[in-house]
Symmetry: C3
Subunit: 671 residues, 3 copies
């Protein structure tokens, strides 16, 4: 990952929502606040095409000009997330239908089925007009396709397209019937047209059908985006294409496929909507978004104040600044706040921007101005830094989809499992790249696969190769339980991986997630606990790291490892509690020579690769209380405060530091 | 408010549900129990018009005669709340459609869309027949229109009518688009026909559209009632028109508009359905119903026993009597129990009347007989009394509707906010008129507006005038946040009222309603707490009554007041806890010379204006435990028990007293 | 009840889901595990009739042959629970419609409306083909009709059939209108076609209509089954007909009517799906299933491992064996595990069979093999034993349906009420026959009717006759509240039974189920508590066993009894807590000379009638902890372990014993 070219700040701006007379004031205030980027246009379809085929793009060009005059560059959104009323009136079939068969109504946004021909046609037309006009405009530096793709449709058109998608995937009904096992419950299909839409509990369909429908819906958005990128690429010069994704937790679309067609990943970051204040969610999201294309990302929307129309909790003073630095330390090269001025109208009136709805610049404006000034000061240091990762964490959209279909034991929840491992690793100060694909794994000392419910021989052989080349692979329970058709393979678990692990799952206990079972290391002081789910292992060719101390499998292997040349495979047979994972990874890190830090729970430490010789460490205190950190034997200089010192370091409430020095970073790889 | 003409008791009676042979027995038993009023007919459509256009009204006349012979006067209901099966069969379109688009089925009640032409026509016909026959019948003293209007329909007819309603309200689409801010999310309408019905979470429509739909649905009932009242007024002589409303908590219809067309407000009182036993809910309801026309009301349905088909909790012995006295002390001039005999059939079999389903007269009958005899004894005192209010509390249906659309922080709930202020005021023994309009405010020493989410310049100037004429106005947080289109005004908050208050809201914290922040009075011992929501004020021209003692705004103003001539405006910047409100209102009362009582939580004291020179105080103990009240230096006589005494007074479990004497009432205004 | 002919074990097997090459292996492994029965075919419609009218039955005959070769006899299922895709494609109207009007989709099972002519026709055709081929096949010993009937449809065909059903039941609309009391809320019907389908809360229909619809839906399945049994009986020789019912808790179908048309009751037992581990649910289910035909039953599906796709909790080691012995001790003459091999495909992938999905025989196979071997050892003892009951417990499907319509106070829940009384009786070690009809009551010393919400004069006179002939009848509160039309009778409660009981209900208190009221015996140390619901009794001709010690009815009768010759009627006026019921039944048992045991909560004792002179007692420990039982003065021999001893006996975790000896059983009737 290349060093930062300097982090830019920007904002979402909706000129169509404000009087033209105000535009220059807004643009000047943005410039005064230190902003250099504005995203515009992504919800402006009815302003750009007020009647079918009648385009009015002058106002947009005017607005771009006003922004440019104040020194702002523009990211232009295609407006397809909000089809106009006239289009819905002409083609009511574009309204999506929910799983119960109810069509949505006009009046919100994202009110389209991604498979409707009339919607594709209208979208193509408006995108075409936009890129004809702005594809060569140097004031426009990039394009955002649509806005926050998502939503699953269950209309008859989707059903037809799904059947076509299946034809392409399976070729013959015989192949489909066999792969899905339709002999079960007499579901054999004799004509493609018989294949239904999936339905809800308690009428759960075949897991194979359900998984394929989730893939198909994901592919429908990928296909819709591809139509737009193709159109744009015919016309644009020197502009990037992006889409604003929704972080790690959003699991309706295979972001790996979506990102493949983009020049740049950007995403929207609202930590305030997370129950816990969201710092770990935001960190995981950032690392996962960076992992999609293995390069820096933009935060296209950064929470600027209270949001939502429920509790709409206010960020504490300092918290928005902290979130911004968090994004930067995790690899953001631009951060755009959402939004400039709080809306006076519409569903998002309570979604606060930088300015208040009355147009006043108050606390949020002042804080932003200070932040951008601070960032300019820090530019040299940030220019030369990038997050460093010794560990890769692999997540897999197919497994995520499969676990949406039949989640089984609550302790096995996909997102929670990933987050638990991620937090344990990050709690040691280890840098983690969160990847959705298996290319180029050899650069990582350790590869953690916290949940790999669905697998296949190809993936298994990739993992095996990684280990054989010296890597350390960590697998958690319930690995490779299903094949790519969401059927259970006719082999022992973990399927295709049992030889590599040297173990075989012979039984398991699924108990209430409130219940646990203990394990302890053989001949060393290493204890821990599983909860909800734990497996009995038959150990064929592996060492037992820990054994069950009680429960149905007392005395047998709970954690195993198998050496493969210089490589190592660790199999964790149950859902480990956070303290257990902490101990486990601390032990593994030490073994691999990755020095772990002791960090308070609410403090993040991100090791950066800097320009100088010294170690560079970003520190983020996500707590309302001050924190003291101990770096024994260290000497440090904080680029933010300008202070220098030795040994320990104090972080204020919601405080941030960029320390450079010696004796700071958790890895001794470079020593 | 004029003195009581004596309180009458009555009952809902359904002759069509019982054999004609039983009617005389029932009527005689009613008379024996001391009843003089019966409501009949409001669910009898199929008995009155068994086939389309074929009317059979003789039985009703016969029943009225039987009742009259026993000395009962009749309130006659129009039967439109329960359209017959044949009408639904002929016109299935009259069935209402829910927000998800599902039509209801025949088989309950209120199964009509208030906008269907066929339903209007059939209703008009049956009402016409009824008033031709009974409009001049002196045994019928009044009419109840329909029964408990309510329910929101989402059918295509409603959609069309809504569009017409919008044409009338906005005149042009340009005006609508601007007022609603449809530029947001590309929702600009180019034809009225494009305007959709609102839909549910998570597909929330524009708040402006949603609010207008709620207003439109409310207006639909007002219009339907107007059709009936117009018909009736063509024929009736000397009979009043009423509708049975559902108290304060029912917030689907603007009762101010509904009541405007009625001669008399009546309402239905089921405190047993409230979670807390409902005494404060019933008290607020009574004061709000009295406030609609600023005159005494009827309780058209008073709970007589266990009700519902869930828990159907039984009233404790003495509780029904207590509820009846509560209604009387709050201004009821008639109380009709629901219902005479417990239904043997139908959905309300478990909704207990005075008699059991087997026709037996048991405890409820005996208690009623004692109550009516007791009331006859008390008639002289009650005749000469009326509740007295120094305080007005203003509630606003538009604000209530607006907060239904996007409730934001749970601490800001409309009904709960009103109830909290109401309880605090009533807890001091202060009389409160709960008003839905701003006429004639000058008679009140204090005007409390606990939640005024939506406002406008006209209302602001009315409030200002009240203060300038010497009134004390109390405003709570989140005041005047929206204009009448449910858009955020382009001015500082509280919009239109900032000059009057002398403060401006510059920031706020929205936190979980479990979290609070303290405030304390400057230079005096006055402390309190806000929770959920609190605002930062810029004080332009006001005194700071209390400042934040912690939280994001520590040290700045939490409660302010501004003197305006003899008038005063108090702005409370956060959601105050009940103890804080108690202290605040105690302080304000003392300042205004309104003497506050010290009352146990479960005891209500209602100051009455009596005939004599002494003070008159109704006391109601809503607890199962006896209570001792201290009136230092008082002398009293209890009209109910006949006892006299000095100083303290004992109320038994669920006990009631009507004390006359000196040293009793909470106000020293008259001294 | 005749002695056991020896208990057989079997398994559900789906040859259509596995390669034919595997069949012989499976069959041999089944035989090795000691199985002698296999159920096949009940979900194989699309394999048996891959195209309309084209039947392929050879594979099934082949599979039956393979099983027979290994010594297994076959129960053949009719495959109507899973109509094929082609049938749904041809006749989409067969898809059931839910209460909200939404049609289900193809893709699960039970996706049929039981009233659709096209579905009846197709079902008849496939059943006809099957019984032509296998009706005389001696390898097939019986038939299972369909699979787990259930599900309520609300389609227009059902509506039409319901109207016809009503014509048959009521004859005239006048009779229906009067019986339902349609005068209430103007619901009088003038044409049968007006009668609607019932709808959901808050739009509850008339309770009379709702109850009749539940009866009609139940009858629809009875009728559909009758079509199949008629077809089968034309062809079969020496084969039994059964259906796999769903125990006591399933309350959508009147199992009394369903069982009447069957030769044998079988049912499906999944205790692991019950919140409490289900031992009491399974025991009650077994006794209720045995009571349907008053003879031994089969367990057609016995849980073999983790099931479901939620928590899918694993049975503890030993628990499946325990469940099997529990079924046997309650009267099972065959137990078939579900299923042989865990499915690789389809909705039930996580519903574990004996083998794992990979075909491996692991712990569950080994445990089954041990169990079947153990059972063979025990055969002699089991052959000669049968459960003995002194007590009958009556449940009534009409009352169950009626309480589904309007449940009122939560403490009155039908299934919970029955279970509470059942547990109290079984906790004393008393044998209980759970009956759904009133034939042949005289053989029981005590008849408990824990909930008889709906009654009539015929049932009342049957109960009266039982008492007059010397029986002891126990009635709990809320008895005979409704007539068979779900209307409240015009008589005092308990209607038709007040003279027999010698009491009349004059009032009641319905309070939150968390609240209670105490009662105490007159002149003896007997105390207890009611909760949720308790009644005031007017005692006409009965002795007061206990009086209220507090609450609204303090001092009046809480439990009464009336001697009628040698008989006795006990009326319990409230919902008694478990400890209170325990004391009550202990007192009654002692009075009737039924000796009660002292048992730990988690231990079941089932008294069996054995071949020898000694007492025979099955003991089941449903706890993970060992238990010591005291039988003072006893001598015993455990047929399972072979051990003998005196006095006390130790049961291991999830342990089972079949004790023979003296001084063991709870009844001294035979002494």
């Amino acid at each position: 990952m290349a060093p930062y070219p300097g982090v830019r700040l920007g904002v979402a701006y909706y000129p169509e929502q404000w009087p033209q007379a105000r535009w220059r004031t807004d643009a000047q205030m943005m410039a005064d606040a230190g902003l250099t980027l504005a995203r515009v246009g992504e919800f402006a379809w009815s302003a750009l095409e007020p009647e079918p085929g009648h385009f009015t793009l002058d106002w947009l060009e005017e607005a771009i000009g006003v922004l440019a005059d104040a020194g702002l560059e523009v990211v232009l959104g295609t407006p397809t997330a909000a089809p106009p009323a006239w289009l819905v009136e002409q083609h009511p079939e574009i309204l999506p239908v929910d799983v119960d068969g109810r069509p949505h109504r006009f009046g919100n946004r994202r009110h389209y089925c991604p498979n409707q021909p009339a919607f594709h046609a209208a979208s193509e037309r408006v995108v075409d007009q936009l890129c004809r006009r702005f594809g060569g405009d140097s004031r426009v530096i990039g394009w955002q396709i649509d806005n926050e793709f998502g939503g699953r449709c269950y209309c008859e058109t989707c059903r037809g397209r799904f059947q076509e998608w299946l034809v392409e995937r399976y070729g013959s009904l015989q192949h489909l019937n066999e792969s899905w096992g339709t002999a079960f419950w007499s579901q054999t299909y004799s004509r493609w047209e018989q294949i239904p839409l999936p339905q809800k509990e308690p009428w759960d369909p075949s897991p194979s059908l359900a998984l394929d429908y989730l893939r198909f819906m994901s592919d429908s958005y990928v296909r819709f985006q591809a139509m737009q990128t193709a159109r744009l690429r015919e016309r644009i010069t020197g502009q990037f294409l992006t889409h604003n994704l929704m972080g790690f937790k959003f699991a309706e679309i295979d972001y790996r496929k979506l990102a493949a067609d983009l020049d740049l990943v950007s995403w929207d970051n609202y930590p305030g909507l997370e129950p816990d204040g969201g710092h770990s969610t935001a960190a995981l999201a950032a690392d996962a978004m960076r992992g999609l294309k293995r390069k820096r990302f933009w935060v296209m929307e950064q929470q600027a104040g209270p949001v939502g129309w429920g509790l709409m909790q206010s960020p504490a003073p300092g918290q928005v600044r902290l979130w911004t630095y968090q994004a930067i330390a995790h690899g953001a090269e631009a951060v755009l706040f959402f939004r400039w001025r709080t809306a006076r109208f519409g569903t998002e009136q309570h979604w606060h921007g930088i300015l208040d709805a009355d147009g006043s610049a108050r606390r949020r404006f002042r804080e932003l101005t200070r932040l951008s000034s601070e960032l300019r000061e820090l530019r040299q240091q940030i220019d030369a830094s990038a997050p460093v990762a010794d560990v890769a964490l692999l997540h897999d959209y197919d497994s995520r989809f499969a676990l949406q279909v039949q989640p089984t034991n609550g302790a096995l929840g996909y997102e929670a499992s990933v987050q638990r491992h991620y937090k344990a690793l990050r709690g040691l100060g280890l840098g983690v790249d969160v990847l959705a694909d298996t290319a180029d794994l050899d650069r990582y000392r350790m590869l953690v696969v916290p949940s790999l419910y669905l697998a296949g021989p190809e993936l298994a052989s990739t993992l095996s190769a990684y280990v054989h080349r010296g890597g350390t692979l960590v697998l958690a329970p319930r690995t490779a339980v299903k094949d790519r058709f969401n059927a259970v393979p006719e082999s022992s678990l973990p399927a295709w991986l049992d030889s590599l692990c040297g173990v075989r799952v012979t039984d398991y206990q699924s108990v209430s997630p409130e219940l646990g079972v203990g394990f302890a290391g053989d001949g060393e002081s290493f204890e821990g606990e599983f909860y909800g789910w734990y497996e009995e292992l038959e150990v064929a060719d592996a060492s037992v790291v820990a054994s069950y101390s009680d429960g149905a499998f007392a005395g047998s292997a709970a954690i195993t490892e198998r050496k493969v040349g210089d490589g190592l495979v660790v199999y964790i047979a149950g859902v480990a509690t956070p303290p257990s994972l902490d101990r486990l990874y601390r032990r593994l890190s030490s073994r691999l020579g990755l020095r772990a830090l002791q960090l308070p729970e609410e403090v993040e430490a991100i090791r950066l690769e800097g320009r100088g010789d010294g170690e560079l460490l970003a520190l983020l205190n996500h707590s309302e209380k001050g924190q003291r950190l101990s770096f024994e034997g260290s000497r440090w200089h904080d680029h933010l405060s300008g202070a220098s010192g030795e040994g320990s370091f104090d972080l204020g409430p919601y405080g941030v530091a960029f320390l450079e020095g010696v004796g700071l970073t958790p890895s001794d790889r470079d020593r």
